[in-house]
C-alpha cells in the first residue's frame, strides 16, 4: 500500500502509527514536498488482517519475539467469569443464555478482557445496545 500526493505527484512517506486499543489502527503519511498529512484509518477487521500476517505497518523497530503471533493472538482459554457475573448470567432465560454468554465472551475476547464481571457486563450492554440482557 502506497500513498500519492496527487497535487505534487509525490509518494507520501510513512509518518506515524497509532493503536488506540479498540482494534483500530491509524497511520499517517506525509507528502515530502508540500507537507500535507493524510491518515489511513482501518477498522478492526482490516487491522486484524494485517496483524494476521505477522507484519507491522510502519516497519518493525525490534525483531519479532519467538512465537509472538501465537502468544499474543491465540486464546488459550475463554475469559473467566466471576461468581457474581455467573449468577447474573443465570438469571437470563435458558433458551437465550448460550447466545448471551457468547456475546459477552466475544466482547471480552475482542478487547483482551480476561475476566468478566458485572461491571464489564454493564459496559458491554451499554456499548452493544443489549439492554435487558
Amino acid at each position: 500500500m502506497k500513498f500519492l500526493c496527487v497535487e505534487c505527484d509525490q509518494q507520501m512517506s510513512f509518518d506515524e502509527r497509532q493503536l488506540p486499543g479498540d482494534g483500530t489502527l491509524a497511520a499517517t503519511f506525509k507528502c515530502p514536498k508540500c507537507g500535507r498529512v493524510v491518515a489511513m484509518l482501518t477498522n478492526p477487521m482490516e487491522t486484524q488482517l494485517v496483524s494476521s500476517l505477522g507484519v507491522e505497518i510502519g516497519g518493525r523497530t525490534v525483531p519479532a519475539e519467538p512465537l509472538e503471533m501465537v502468544r499474543t493472538n491465540v486464546v488459550t482459554g475463554g475469559p473467566a467469569w466471576t461468581s457474581d457475573a455467573q449468577e447474573r448470567l443465570g438469571r437470563v432465560p435458558s433458551f437465550v443464555r448460550g447466545m448471551v454468554k457468547k456475546i459477552y465472551a466475544d466482547y471480552a475476547r475482542e478487547r483482551g478482557i480476561t475476566e468478566i464481571t458485572p461491571a464489564i457486563m454493564d459496559t458491554a450492554r451499554a456499548e452493544l445496545g443489549l439492554e435487558g440482557m
Binding site: L4, Q48, S52, G54, V55, G58, M69
Partner: protein, 249 residues
C-alpha cells in the same frame, strides 16, 4: 496519476521485507533438518496422525532424531499419541524421544483454537492467522538437529499449500489412504496438487487394511502416480509394521 509500480521510493513499512525476513527465519531454523516429510491425504479419518506418530516412534527407536509438527491446528491429536500432554517448553519430548510441537500443547483441555480479534467476518483473516501460526511453529521453535521432521497435515489441501509457501520449497509427501474407492478419489486430488506443486511423492501407506474397508486404493494410486506402496497397515499393527515403513524413508 502514477500507478503503484511507478512509485519506487522505499516503503518504510517494508511489508515485503518483513515477509522475506519471516521466510528466512524458517529457512535458517530448518537448515539443521535433513528431511522434511509431509504426511497428508485428501481424506479425513484415514489415520494420518496415527501413522505419523507411530512412524516417528519407529524412527526414534531406530536411533534417528525425529520431530513431529502437528499441523492440524484445529484438531491436534499428536500430543495424545506421543503422550506429551504438558510442555514447559517447545518442542516437547514424547515417546521414543520424538520431539513434538502442537497447538494441543498450548490450548486448554477441549478448548478450540480461537484467535483474539473481531468475530464478525472472521473468515477474512482466520486463514492468514492460521498460516502465521504454522510459520511460527516451524520457524520459532528450536527443533535442533533432526534427521526427520514429519508434518502431520489436516484433511484437505489448504495446509499443504500454505506449507509450500512458508517453506519456499514443496516438502516431500507421504500419502495415507484407506482401501476404499471413496478414499482413493479424494486422495488422488490431493496427490495431484502435490505433484503439480513439485513435491517428491515418497509413497503410499494403506491404513486400516483387512476388515471392513474394501478396495484397491493404494494399488490404483501407486500405478497412476508411478510410486510404491510402502506399507499396508492392518487394524492392529505391530511395531514391525512401523519399523518396516520407517526403513523405507
Amino acid at each position: 496519476m502514477r500507478t503503484y509500480h511507478q512509485l519506487t521510493d522505499p516503503d518504510r513499512s517494508g511489508l515485503a521485507e518483513q515477509i522475506g525476513a519471516q521466510r528466512r527465519r524458517v529457512a535458517e531454523r530448518l537448515a539443521a533438518v535433513s528431511r522434511i516429510v509431509a504426511v497428508m491425504s485428501g481424506k479425513g479419518g484415514v489415520g494420518k496422525s496415527y501413522v505419523t506418530a507411530h512412524l516417528a516412534r519407529a524412527l526414534g527407536r531406530a536411533g534417528r532424531r525425529v520431530g513431529v509438527l502437528d499441523a492440524d491446528l484445529n484438531g491436534p491429536t499428536i500430543p495424545g499419541l506421543l503422550q506429551t500432554s504438558e510442555a514447559v517448553e517447545l518442542p516437547a519430548t514424547g515417546l521414543d524421544g520424538v520431539r513434538c510441537v502442537s497447538m494441543g500443547l498450548m490450548l486448554g483441555d477441549g478448548a478450540p483454537l480461537t484467535f483474539k480479534g473481531p468475530s464478525a467476518e472472521s473468515f477474512v483473516w482466520r486463514g492468514a492467522m492460521e498460516a502465521s501460526a504454522l510459520r511460527e511453529l516451524l520457524g520459532d521453535v528450536e527443533w535442533g538437529k533432526l534427521d526427520f521432521l514429519l508434518l502431520d497435515l489436516p484433511p484437505g489441501m489448504q495446509r499443504y499449500v500454505e506449507l509450500c509457501d512458508i517453506l519456499g520449497n514443496p516438502p516431500a509427501v507421504l500419502t495415507v489412504t484407506i482401501p476404499t474407492p471413496e478414499s482413493r478419489d479424494a486422495v488422488r486430488r490431493a496427490m495431484r496438487v502435490a505433484f503439480d506443486r513439485g513435491s517428491e511423492l515418497i509413497g503410499i501407506v494403506e491404513n486400516m487394511v483387512g476388515r471392513e474397508f474394501v478396495g484397491t486404493a493404494a494399488d490404483d494410486l501407486a500405478k497412476e502416480f508411478t510410486i510404491r506402496v510402502l506399507a499396508r497397515i492392518p487394524w492392529h499393527p505391530t511395531p514391525d509394521n512401523w519399523s518396516t515403513l520407517g526403513s523405507q524413508l
